[in-house]
């Protein structure tokens, strides 16, 4: 009986993305006309039900697939001229587990949004987009094909555009949506080039077969380097890595509940594709070095930028870029297991952090940390959740990231010592950055904006605390999955170094920002250096000076050519025709003698030429 139920759950696993898609479609029914009649809320409720359905299905299926070998099947989407576009599915405990993470987080985010967007009228759009994201991400983890993965990433890019552009009245939202779309699209199109170029080389898009092929492939290094770099650009855009990182910062203009989902799992879609593509990417040492370099540069740079920001959401978003950078490093050095774990533990911790800052923003109205302070006594639940999120982010045992970082540091110590140091430094800086944020929001004296600030509606508090609870239980999960089993690792050098780096970061942050005797804002000795971080390494200017400037200039130039040269040539031809016609008409003067004379002169000239 149980077996039949389990089998049924697995056989119908494809329903998980379908529930969400259905939810998206159902929400869309609440067009402005219907919303006027019923209010916007039902659009959200139907979606919550659908998400809960896919979460429960995933959870039960996870029990069924646990310990079983992965299931594979494929559906033919379409075929043309001998080329099959297949949709291969891979159902394993990993992929089903990933969907429960996605649907679970989305459920929390949706409940949160019921409270957070209480007064908003755009529920239909918002919820259908959240559901769309959920469907896309679930399909992405289930699919085993690079082509389908590309298709989904591209669709999610469009989703980001619409979701960030939710409040399309505001100028910053418009530019944020635009930049998010275009930056991610740049990554996607490089990925598309890679997808197109890979097929003739490998003859398949299936990740499994690509991995098999990569074992024996012998290729022209130049070709595989170019292809690999193109493939790498897709995850770089999704994961907001240098130099495609600015969009995540600007995407913070979107509604906060969508940020919960974005900062925790949407950015990780890139990391997932990276993990799947790893065997192909590692074919070229150049690509591998680029992957590690980009990851470490982002990890370090983005953390430094985060420390210099004053917008709550932006501080968190740069940490997201940084952690994605660490995943790049982990995957690039071959530690995929750690990369995957990082997706999980970072995702949960970041979701809790975003939910708790959202809980502050929702009734303090401001996102500017310099206007906040002294909230600890007024908002103990939020403060504790924030601390749990911080704990989950940094390498402090026993929460999730400590195991990941310890494992990475201990292995990289013997492989590439610089990277081990990098992880310690990034960990310490993140600890500092989050403690700074904690100090600025919750410690110190209350300010005008924080004088009257109770805990918000239970709809916001509940998902936040549930998220914090899950974060606290991640070590339990890791133990029960037997991914980790040994506490003594933290007594090794690597473990001690990691804990030290976290404690130094946390302590320094607490000392500087929890101490009312120290003048705020704390400044770096060099104002130029501080501005360099605060203005995001001047990346907007860099874009303007390079890509954006080039496209703008060249499009004007092309337009000028079109108007003046090409159209000008045809108009000139027209003018010349009129002009010659106008002048030739004066040759029609009607005197017979002159006509005869002209004819005679012509004939004479002809004869002369003949001789």
């Amino acid at each position: 009986m149980l077996q039949a139920v389990n089998q049924g759950l697995l056989d119908t696993i494809w329903l998980i993305p379908i529930y969400s898609l259905l939810g998206a479609a159902l929400s869309l029914i609440w067009m402005p006309s219907l919303t006027r009649r019923t209010g916007p809320r039902p659009a959200g409720y139907v979606n919550l039900v659908m998400t809960l359905l896919s979460f429960l299905h995933g959870l039960l299926a996870l029990q069924a697939i646990w310990g079983q070998p992965p299931l594979h099947w494929q559906v033919n989407w379409f075929s043309v001229a001998g080329l099959d576009f297949l949709i291969p599915w891979e159902i394993s405990s990993l992929t089903v587990g990933a969907t429960t993470l996605i649907t679970g987080l989305n459920f929390l985010a949706q409940v949160y949004a019921v409270g957070y967007l209480e007064m908003d009228w755009g529920w239909a759009r918002f919820y259908s987009l959240l559901a769309f994201f959920e469907a896309g991400m679930c399909a992405l983890v289930f699919t085993d094909s690079l082509f389908i993965a590309y298709v989904i990433l591209e669709l999610l890019t469009l989703g980001t555009y619409l979701l960030v552009g939710m409040w399309y009245n505001q100028p910053l939202v418009i530019t944020g949506a635009r930049d998010a779309f275009l930056t991610k699209r740049v990554g996607d199109l490089f990925l598309l080039m890679g997808v197109v170029a890979l097929l003739p080389l490998a003859g398949t898009w299936n990740f499994d077969e690509l991995a098999e092929w990569a074992k024996t492939a012998s290729l022209d290094p130049a070709v595989i380097t170019l292809v690999g770099l193109a493939l790498l650009a897709g995850p770089m855009g999704k994961c907001a890595q240098f130099p495609l990182h600015l969009w995540l910062d600007e995407a913070m203009e979107g509604p906060l509940p969508s940020t919960i989902l974005r900062n925790s799992v949407v950015v990780a879609t890139g990391a997932w594709v990276l993990y799947k593509l790893q065997p192909v990417l590692l074919l070229s040492p150049v690509v591998q070095s680029v992957m590690i370099f980009v990851g470490s540069a982002t990890a370090l740079g983005a953390t430094l930028i985060a420390i210099a920001q004053i917008d709550i959401k932006r501080i968190l978003s740069y940490s997201v870029s940084a952690y994605m950078g660490l995943i790049f490093v982990a995957v690039g050095t071959g530690h995929t297991q750690e990369g995957l774990l990082l997706i999980l533990s970072h995702g949960m911790a970041m979701a809790v952090l975003v939910m708790s800052v959202g809980s502050v923003i929702t009734n303090c109205i401001t996102q500017d940390v310099t206007q906040l302070g002294g909230l600890f006594s007024r908002r103990p639940i939020t403060a504790l959740s924030f601390l749990v999120g911080t704990w989950g982010m940094v390498g402090l045992p026993p929460l999730g990231n400590s195991w990941v970082f310890q494992s990475l540091v201990s292995q990289l110590w013997y492989e590439q010592r610089g990277l081990a140091f990098l992880i310690l430094i990034v960990n310490g800086l993140t600890a500092f950055s989050l403690m700074r944020l904690f100090g600025l929001i919750f410690l110190g004296k209350p300010q005008q904006m924080t004088e009257r600030s109770p805990e918000p509606l239970w709809l916001i508090v509940l998902p936040m605390t549930v998220g914090a609870g899950v974060t606290l239980h991640i070590p339990h999960l890791l133990f029960s999955w037997q991914i980790v089993n040994d506490w003594t690792v933290f007594t090794k050098h690597s473990g001690i170094a990691l804990v030290m780096s976290s404690l130094v970061g946390l302590g320094l942050g607490l000392y500087l920002y929890g101490n009312t005797n120290i003048m705020k804002p704390v400044r770096l000795p060099s104002i130029k250096l501080q501005d360099f971080f605060a203005y995001d390494f001047y990346t907007p200017k860099l874009y303007k000076g390079t890509v954006v400037g080039f496209v703008d200039l060249f499009s004007r130039f092309a337009d000028w050519c079109d108007r003046h040269l090409i159209d000008g040539a045809s108009n000139l031809f027209g003018l010349a025709t009129i002009f010659s016609g106008e002048s030739l008409k004066y040759t029609t003067f009607g005197q017979l003698q002159l006509y005869v004379l002209t004819t005679v002169v012509g004939i004479v000239v002809l004869f002369l030429l003949l001789k």
Partner: protein, 503 residues
Amino acid sequence: MLSLLILIPILGATITMLVSNGTIAKRVSLLCLSVVVILTLYIAREFTITDGHFQFSETYQWINLIGLDYSLGIDGISLPLIGLNMLICWLIVFAYDANSHRARSFLALLLLANAGLTGAFASTNVLLFTIFYELELIPIYLLIAIWGSVKREYAATKFLIFTAVSGILILVGFLAVGWFAANPNPTFNYESLLHTNFPVAVQTILLLILLVGFGIKTPLVPLHTWLPDTYVESSTSTAMLLGGLLAKLGAYGLLRFCMPLFPDAWHTLAPFLALWGGLGILYGAFTAIAQKDIKRMVAYSSIGHMSYILLAIAADNPLSLVGAVSQMVSHGLILALLFYLVGIVEAKVGTREIDILNGLMNPIRGLPTTSALLILSGMASAGIPGLVGFVAEFITFQGSYTQFPVPTIMAIAGTGLTAVYFVILLNRTCFGKLDNRTAYYPKVSGVEQIPALVLTALIIWLGVQPSHLISWSEATAQVYSQYTVANAGLMPIRLDSSQIAIK
């Protein structure tokens, strides 16, 4: 059967001119087009999808002396285009306001254009093709010159001159083809011309003549200069007709005549043609970014998108040829939708200027549905998966890449630039804050939405279920690729890596 597709609209045009007012005229034309739509569906049902050659052939001797036969036939290239023709014309008539200025003449001319297009797509005699090709020019000229906007006469004349030159070049080219193939009488039958081997030098010269001829119509940069003016000055209906259908005639000519009739010359020139296509894509996209008028922007986007077809035909393998036909259909659907929506915006808001429009997505006082569909069509044009544009473009890219990697990468970059100008368009028109003082726009009625919704449904449906679009042309693409594949010796996929020249 095929003759009916041509005769019924012509008959309809005659009746339309005779009836007393616009309302009846609209009913008559709608009836005629509905009949041909149903006929087309019937033909599609009877069409043998696995046969790549001409079907439903009809041949009548007409003027033997010059080798002009009335011979029709359709295959996997022409059937989708005829279907597109019927659909878009039907939607244009459906959306047409029967009370507008000189409605009867408009409808009659539209029906004539429809008949001309069907005739051109179905001709299997090159002279007959030329006749239809020229025939369709007259109604279109009048449609622009009478119902256009301010600079309509300039635009119509420019269109007339360019298209007439194109027609003359095509006529010259085809006459020469017929005479070179003479044994002893000149022959213009397409299928016998296919089996004629011309010397390479002759092929090259004739190909160049026809390339310019069809290149004007397609249009290929730099022969495109008539297009922006014409599209911008035309009324919405005419723009849909021009952009959705007429441009396809040029691309159709490239695929149907230029490539298979002169395979050796085509094969020699293919690298240049591919590069030409790639440059055209980038040129169209870059120029579109700089435009301030939505319609002009869409017009330039169309220039870019037609160049994908040149790239696909240049690559000339089954995959890329299917891509070419799909691109024609998908571009027709998307462009018709874009022009239709821009028409609605212009009619309701009164301007097409990007700098003036703002906040149309406002659910209460803006045009929410129109904006939503505008976003969808823009994204379809930019090649977002799940919509029909992606399928066509992806097949084109995958098909072309093995032969011409660099132009293909240029084309992919072009889709990125497409996204740039559509985001500019959407950000400026749909997003933003509606100006409270001016935002008293008339509502878009349900009937007005229908054509847009029909096109949208097709764009999504064919994007999700691409086999309904591509399977029509697969067999024919196989046949067509064999005309030159003997020279190329290349198969589209699963090459071994040594054959990829990326360096």
